[in-house]
């Protein structure tokens, strides 16, 4: 294994060469898959006691990017979801609002309107979500439109086709271009780990996205199975840790898709804490992309508070 060459940041500068990028990515150590699975399994057995659980459930609500990404989304549904984002449990004002509402660009105006003054951010998926298979101009136009409509955060997808074909430079340049368009808006880069096949690819793509200026790296679109898994999240968290050591920049993490239970969410938080420590235990640096998770969190919160097992029908569906 070659020792990584010392890098200055922005890691690759503004005039990055394909050679520099290759050297940077090749310096990424390979992932020990067996060790990843073992560590994830070991951390999953950790017992979370009542006070910690209360805190974790509350934190998970604050970290949730409440998401609806369906062809049948309507402004009405988005408004309904926005109400839920502001006050997840209408009967209990002590439950904090979620971090953000994540919608398609066309739904951004409705979301912005419904969330005004609430502190809940509006995140828009852009760049020809979910495939990313479109010319760069289209992707940039998509992003600009979302921002113009008032989105605070952009969830972009990388071009997996180019990545798998080995054209890392293209992927890098696209992220940089979107980053420029975003300006101060928060940029989350979706790797779609379900399509990257190997942990080594996930790790490389993570390092690539962070070097290109991602504020967050995100596992999946939710449109491909498998979506977020704990092993793949651990690989990305370790990449974030390495990147932070290398550059001093703290990039956020967002597992998305397939996280449906509070128990699972708490296991993600354990991974997060054990890998990156308490500095990352905040909605500024960790989010859950989810829709049905929120209801399970609410149910568990009420269970912890009352000692009575809850009924899913008592909680609003959207």
């Amino acid at each position: 294994m070659t020792t990584p060459a010392p890098l200055t940041l922005p890691v690759l500068g503004t005039h990055v060469t394909p050679q520099a990028l290759r050297a940077y990515l090749e310096a990424t150590p390979p992932v020990d898959e067996v060790a990843v699975h073992e560590r994830v399994a070991a951390l999953a057995t950790r017992s979370i006691k009542r006070e910690t659980k209360r805190y974790a459930l509350d934190l998970a609500v604050r970290m949730t990017d409440l998401t609806t990404l369906e062809g049948r989304d309507t402004p009405g549904k988005v408004r309904q979801l926005a109400a839920k984002a502001r006050r997840p449990d209408p009967t209990d004002p002590s439950i904090p609002p979620v971090a953000a509402l994540c919608v398609y660009p066309a739904m951004v105006p409705a979301a912005v309107d419904a969330l005004r003054g609430s502190g809940v951010k509006v995140a828009a998926v852009a760049t020809y979500f979910p495939s990313g298979q479109a010319p760069l101009e289209v992707k940039l136009a998509d992003t600009r439109a979302a921002l113009a409509a008032g989105a605070d955060e952009i969830d972009m997808v990388i071009d997996r086709g180019a990545f798998l074909a080995g054209d890392h430079m293209k992927v890098y340049e696209e992220i940089v271009a979107v980053r420029e368009v975003c300006g101060s808006a928060h940029l989350k880069v979706i790797l779609e780990t379900g399509e990257l096949v190997t942990f080594d690819n996930v790790r490389k793509a993570s390092m690539l996205a962070m070097a290109a200026g991602a504020d967050f790296i995100k596992t999946s679109t939710g449109k491909v199975a498998p979506a977020a898994t704990r092993p793949v999240t651990l690989v990305m968290l370790e990449a974030i840790r390495d990147f932070a050591e290398l550059t001093g920049i703290g990039v956020g993490m967002k597992p998305a898709g397939g996280i449906r239970t509070a128990k699972d969410a708490i296991r993600y938080l354990v991974l997060l804490y054990e890998t990156l420590g308490s500095a990352w235990m905040t909605p500024d640096r960790f989010r859950f992309g989810a829709s049905s998770l929120l209801n399970d969190l609410l149910m568990q919160i009420r269970w912890v508070r009352t000692g009575v097992y809850q009924r899913p029908d008592d909680f609003t569906k959207d």
């Binding site: 000692g307 009575v308 097992y309 809850q310 009924r311 899913p312 029908d313 008592d314």
Partner: protein, 287 residues
């Protein structure tokens, strides 16, 4: 010398036979105090899982025809009959003679067959076309109430269990059963009969273990639509009703005394009706 291969008695949740989540078991003793087996001691988390399984299975089970549910109940009867010898030896643990135990198994089979017959008939008995003034039809039909928590009696361990499970599930409810704590073995064998009788996973879930610890969680569980307290008796019933009232869970009270062997008192289509909701629709008459 050959070492006996002894059966591990486990729970029955979602069609599978898991050990208790707690990893605990408890001794089952015969009348002389000799420990004959260890049964799984269900925890409240097992109860939670069982209710979730029952909830998941309920729409599919209710969506079947009454005729089909009747067929499946009959199939359960066949499976119980087939395991008669096992049941007899397990019932003898509780002090029954061989003949008494045999009689209990026979009664249990008969009861299942009896309720199986009601599968496609009780709606006609419980439902009605109501006379109303005006140009309307007014039709009442029973619908299953949903997930029913059944507290099975300590004894008779098999007949009591069967007598309460059959009327609950025949109408399309699903059940979470707290089996006899002292004599749990027939309940586990009954679960094996269910598992081989084409009963869909989750329709009946059977927990063995400390009833006193499980009942408060069952009674207060908001996703449980009814509690059958026949096997519980009157002592402590008020606590169950108070816990159930918060989520408007129906509690079916037991009679003052129960004679489980009496066909007139321990089986009735009205026991099916105890676990249904009556839905009434108005329909315009004429063209």
């Amino acid at each position: 010398m050959r070492v006996d291969v002894r059966k591990t008695y486990k729970l029955f949740i979602a069609g599978g036979f898991p050990r208790s989540e707690s990893g605990r078991s408890y001794p089952v003793a015969d009348t002389s105090g000799k420990v004959v087996a260890r049964a799984a001691a269900a925890s409240r988390k097992d109860l939670r899982d069982a209710v979730r399984a029952a909830r998941g299975a309920q729409p599919g089970w209710a969506g079947r025809t009454g005729y089909n549910r009747g067929q499946i109940l009959y199939r359960i009867a066949e499976m119980v009959e087939d395991r008669a010898d096992t049941f007899v030896s397990q019932l003898r643990v509780g002090g029954r003679t061989r003949a008494q135990a045999r009689r209990e198994v026979e009664r249990s089979v008969d009861r299942l067959v009896w309720y199986a017959g009601w599968g496609d008939k009780f709606v006609q008995v419980v439902g009605n076309m109501n006379p109303v003034q005006g140009d309307f039809f007014n039709i009442s039909t029973p619908e299953p109430t949903g997930v029913v928590g059944i507290i099975a009696p300590e004894e008779p361990a098999l007949l009591g269990l069967v007598s309460r499970v059959a009327p609950v599930i025949i109408s399309g409810n699903t059940a979470v059963v707290l089996a006899s704590e002292r004599l749990p073995l027939p309940a586990v064998t009954f679960a094996e009969a269910l598992a081989t009788a084409d009963v869909p996973a989750g329709v009946v879930n059977i927990l063995t273990g400390p009833k006193d610890r499980l009942i408060p969680y069952l009674a207060s569980h908001r996703d449980c639509n009814a509690i059958d307290a026949w096997g519980h008796g009157w002592e402590g019933l008020a606590e169950i009703e108070a816990a159930a009232a918060d989520s408007v869970t129906r509690v079916v009270r037991p009679p003052r005394t129960v004679d489980w062997t009496n066909e007139r008192l321990a089986q009735s289509p009205y026991m099916i009706a105890d676990f249904v909701e009556i839905k009434t629709v108005w329909h315009p008459k004429g063209l």
